[in-house]
């Protein structure tokens, strides 16, 4: 089991220079500490126009800043959006390879297609084609990294022969991932030999069959890249404190803050009904009908990492038994917690929780 951090870069109103800089600088300080403490990865989302919820429109720039401040921690796109109206696949191949150079081979490249009308509508993207363009991007980007010169004629992207530069440091190329929210996307990842970054924050038990199916499918995959990245990372929340009840209280506050921000967005499926957006994405899945004050409160998801070290060891052990290879933690929401509290939580986690888990190397199978 390995451990990482996951950043949305949620930002409190008003969107002043002070607030925006504070969010980015605090996040970078956390990643520097994480690198020293032995966390293995930093993931950063790509989102556009999601006020408060995520001001992370340029994950490549954030990850570059992290890479230059750290030594060992891996810098991971979580994810790069594979939609033609937003990016050419050439630019993703270039950016990821460039960051691989600047980080000396620490890049992981997650892919996805966006699930909000805010973003797809804002870029005037063709909503009906996002799954198909994502599939095409996943197949061409590794070839851009590994082939000296690359030419392609496809449905959503074409180019004459060119040498795409630079080439990545990692041989043959950075590991490829897929963001998984809707049920079934884990199989899309497995069938392409890509890692599954599971973002549906929920119970351990609900994810056991998903992870099991992923493992079964990846055995017979046709990898889009030069190797199979057989890994499951679980995005989760974490706040570690010696007082269990205090930690849970802070955890409730983080999730409530996150839910408030998520509620401001418009899911694709709520605005633009489409055959390729059948389920609510992460943000929509957080929305539940409210309760009256006297109603029994719904139990929190069983897999959340809020508690003292002993509670977290127990929870993570259950995730490990479920087949997760990596826990990727959100540790802040709209700067709700004081920065020192976040850093102290990370220190306690590294000292008292991480040693209980064997931080094995990722499972990577080279082709041929």
């Amino acid at each position: 089991m390995k451990f990482g951090l996951f950043y949305e870069l949620s930002t409190p109103r008003p969107f002043s220079t002070e607030n925006q800089r504070m969010v980015i600088e605090n996040a970078i300080e956390q990643t520097v500490l994480a690198d020293k403490l032995g966390f293995s990865s930093v993931w950063c989302v790509e989102h556009h126009f999601l006020e408060e919820y995520s001001h992370s429109s340029c994950p490549d720039m954030f990850l570059t800043a992290v890479a230059r401040e750290t030594k060992d921690i891996r810098v991971c796109f979580g994810i790069g959006t594979c939609v033609p109206a937003m990016h050419s696949p050439i630019r993703w191949a270039e950016k990821a390879a460039y960051l691989d150079m600047l980080s000396n081979g620490r890049v992981e490249f997650g892919t996805g297609r966006s699930s909000t009308w805010n973003e797809l509508g804002g870029f005037n993207a063709n909503v009906d084609d996002t799954k198909k363009s994502w599939d095409e991007y996943c197949r061409v980007i590794p070839k851009m990294w590994t082939e000296e010169r690359f030419a392609y004629e496809g449905n959503y992207f074409s180019m004459p022969e060119r040498c795409i530069l630079p080439k990545p440091v990692q041989d043959p190329h950075p590991p490829m991932w897929v963001a998984v929210t809707a049920p079934g996307t884990e199989l899309d990842a497995a069938d392409r030999g890509m890692g599954a970054l599971i973002l549906s924050i929920s119970d351990v038990e609900r994810n056991i069959p998903r992870i099991k199916k992923y493992r079964e499918h990846i055995k017979t995959c046709e990898p889009v890249g030069s190797f199979i990245n057989d890994q499951v990372a679980i995005a989760n929340w974490m706040y570690c404190h010696e007082d269990v009840e205090f930690a849970k209280q802070k955890g409730d506050e983080l999730i409530s803050t996150f839910g408030y921000m998520a509620g401001q967005t418009v899911e694709v499926s709520e605005a633009y009904p489409a055959n390729n957006y059948k389920a609510l994405g992460l943000l929509g899945s957080l929305r539940q009908d409210p309760n009256a004050p006297g109603d029994k409160k719904a139990a929190p998801a069983s897999g959340l990492c809020f508690g003292d070290p002993a509670a977290l060891i127990d929870t993570i052990a259950r995730w490990e038994a479920a087949g997760a290879d990596q826990m990727v933690f959100m540790v802040q929401a709209r700067e709700h917690l004081p920065q020192e509290a976040v850093l102290e939580s990370m220190r306690m986690f590294a000292k008292e929780v991480m040693p209980h888990f064997n931080q094995k190397e990722p499972s990577v199978v080279k082709n041929g």
Binding site: N19, G263, P273
Partner: protein, 254 residues
């Protein structure tokens, strides 16, 4: 860091038209409308306009959206009727809803029942929803003046698990115990077929449809669904006078 600034509507709740027809919350029967037709078109609107309309008891949605909905039942206990209403996307807590700006219906009995159950403030008008070979049309004619004549075209079928439409529940301003309250339209939908199409407008009189700030410059999508519509008893209310963070949607006590 300074206190967190939250996003609320800035509208004056006294500007929102309130249905003064008494709400009958005791009637908890379910009304089933088989083979109802629902035409639903959604547009983006200016955020500043939405914020100026939505009261502080609600949060606006981002981006700002408004909808025009037609619901037609041909064989119901209320007789044949077509209801149409405009709404602005908002939310209470984190759940998306639409604040109803104006509603129209062609059947006085249906109007009365919808007013009593859900607080719709309904104007009598000629309302129609018609499906042709390749389009679906919705029309509202009030006092012999057509105020809306819209359609969806270039339609494609939605299939499998995608063949549902996520209608955000309507919120109607009405009085409960003489207190201004928003009551949620409570409906379940058993979808039989769904198509999505591109909205087009022949006539769209913004002011007559609720607010001159709702324009059709940025259409999002339109849909037409054939459903068995289950009208359930009202479940949620929002105190129109309480700020969103202190009020929000609450279950209705009966």
């Amino acid at each position: 860091m300074n206190e967190i600034e939250l996003l609320y509507g800035h509208g004056d709740h006294k500007e929102i038209p309130i249905s003064e027809a008494p709400l009958n919350l005791e009637n908890t029967s379910e009304i089933i409308i088989e083979d109802a037709q629902i035409l639903y078109v959604l547009y983006e609107m200016k955020m500043s306009v939405a914020e100026s309309i939505i009261p502080p008891s609600l949060h606006p949605s981002i981006p700002a959206l408004f909808s025009l909905t037609f619901i037609q039942g041909k064989t119901t206990l209320m007789g044949a009727f077509t209801l149409a209403y405009t709404g602005i996307a908002c939310r209470t807590g984190i759940k998306p809803r639409h604040l109803i700006m104006k509603a129209f219906c062609d059947n006085p009995q249906a109007s009365s029942i919808l007013q009593q159950r859900y607080g719709f403030s309904i104007f009598q008008a000629k309302v129609s929803c018609k499906e042709t070979y390749d389009q679906v049309h919705g029309k509202i004619e009030e006092n012999n003046v057509v105020i809306a004549d819209i359609s969806i075209g270039n339609c494609i079928p939605l299939v499998g698990a995608g063949s549902i439409i996520k209608y955000s529940p309507a919120l109607n301003a009405c009085l409960i115990n003489d207190k201004p309250t928003l009551v949620q339209f409570e409906a379940n939908y058993d979808f039989k077929s769904v198509i999505r199409g591109e909205p087009a407008e022949k006539i769209f009189n913004s002011k007559s449809l609720g607010h001159e700030g709702i324009t059709t410059a940025y259409p999002v999508a339109g849909s037409h669904a054939s459903v068995d519509l289950h009208l359930m008893p009202a479940r949620f209310q929002v105190d129109l006078e309480k700020p969103a963070e202190k009020g929000g949607a609450q279950r209705i006590d009966r």
